[in-house]
Subunit: 213 residues, 2 copies
Amino acid sequence: MADAIKVLLVDDHQVVRRGLRTFLEVQDDIEVVGEAADGAEGVERAEELRPDVILMDVKMPGMDGVDALRRLRELDNPARVLVVTSFTEQRTVVPALRAGAAGYVYKDVDPDALAGAIRSVHAGHILLQPEVAGALLAQEESNSGTGRAGSLTEREREVLGLIADGRSNREIARALVLSEKTVKTHVSNILMKLDLADRTQAALWAVRHGVTG
Amino acid sequence: MADAIKVLLVDDHQVVRRGLRTFLEVQDDIEVVGEAADGAEGVERAEELRPDVILMDVKMPGMDGVDALRRLRELDNPARVLVVTSFTEQRTVVPALRAGAAGYVYKDVDPDALAGAIRSVHAGHILLQPEVAGALLAQEESNSGTGRAGSLTEREREVLGLIADGRSNREIARALVLSEKTVKTHVSNILMKLDLADRTQAALWAVRHGVTG
DNA sequence: GGCCGCCTCGGCCCCGGGACCTAGGCCCAC
DNA sequence: GTGGGCCTAGGTCCCGGGGCCGAGGCGGCC
């Protein structure tokens, strides 16, 4: 098919590349045009073969997926990159998306879903498998429990939100029309209740638990 | 078609509902089973009609999309919700996704892409239009610029990562086998380079820009 | 009425954080 | 060689952050 979606496979395991290839061979609108075993080779092949979509593992020896993504983005008319990962590596999702990934799916995805994902990505969409998106969105919620957040009073949550904005006690005092001392009292109570050491940890806790100013 | 994807349209503008309906009528695997003009009515219709996918505006009088999303999630076997919005409302994207939205597309999406989006969402995927995802991911970048992140040295990034872990200077010193004074120097340089006021802001900057410890 | 929790402050004390200045060793580029 | 960037580190100074103790006003609950 003249309009087949050209796909490049990048993974350090030959077995995985083979598996992906057989998955995709039965799709007549998708053509695997090449393979690469690491990020650096992936970038080379991408320049050479100009695929429409690249299926890439994030975790590889040498240049890993995120680095490769950055390089790929620098090419003109860069391919869309669908990250294929073998396990729930939450921490890699956001960096990968930031680096320009167009999607994130698990290796155990079924063939049709994978083909669908490739088509979606090729069509210009951003695609996350529900487990990935779910994990991404749920990670903060479930960390140490928003339950403790409930133990904070309304005022304390308000103060915490401003801490999470990077504001100083004085700025918070001005914002809430309070004395600086009162703010410090609230901060102390927040730290005690959440068992944190200082405002920096409080700010981090807040962003992870979605406490907004 | 017996297996057609049942879709419910929720938007406060009749014109929009009509437009969406005509878009979808030509798709023989998608069937519009109902419409609603606001969030509350949307929830009612959803209970009554049990659609597979709900196309919903986030910005509506009365109960808005986010509230409706929360309600919908409480139903058993809830429908997948594809948020359709008329403009780039970055701030609504994350709340909508947190509230359980399965996708986010613009109203000016072309018919085929919309149908594709519905199918993707129905298949269990999370789908963001590239402009949305781009805006989402770019928002922090464009704030004060990751360009400056590149200006940090390797060591500084390392220190920043530990700050973003909520560590004190002393802890960082121990971790990196440095004197506390050196750590303070690094911290000062980081704050200067990124134009931040204190370590709390630095920690927040780091998490937003994906600098990991 | 009494008790309690929240919000509001004050004073006091101490330490950690950050600014500013200086400087030596190291490596790389010109 | 000379300069420049990075990493290291010392000193000094000072303010902001946070702990600890106390206290008054207010609203709800028993």
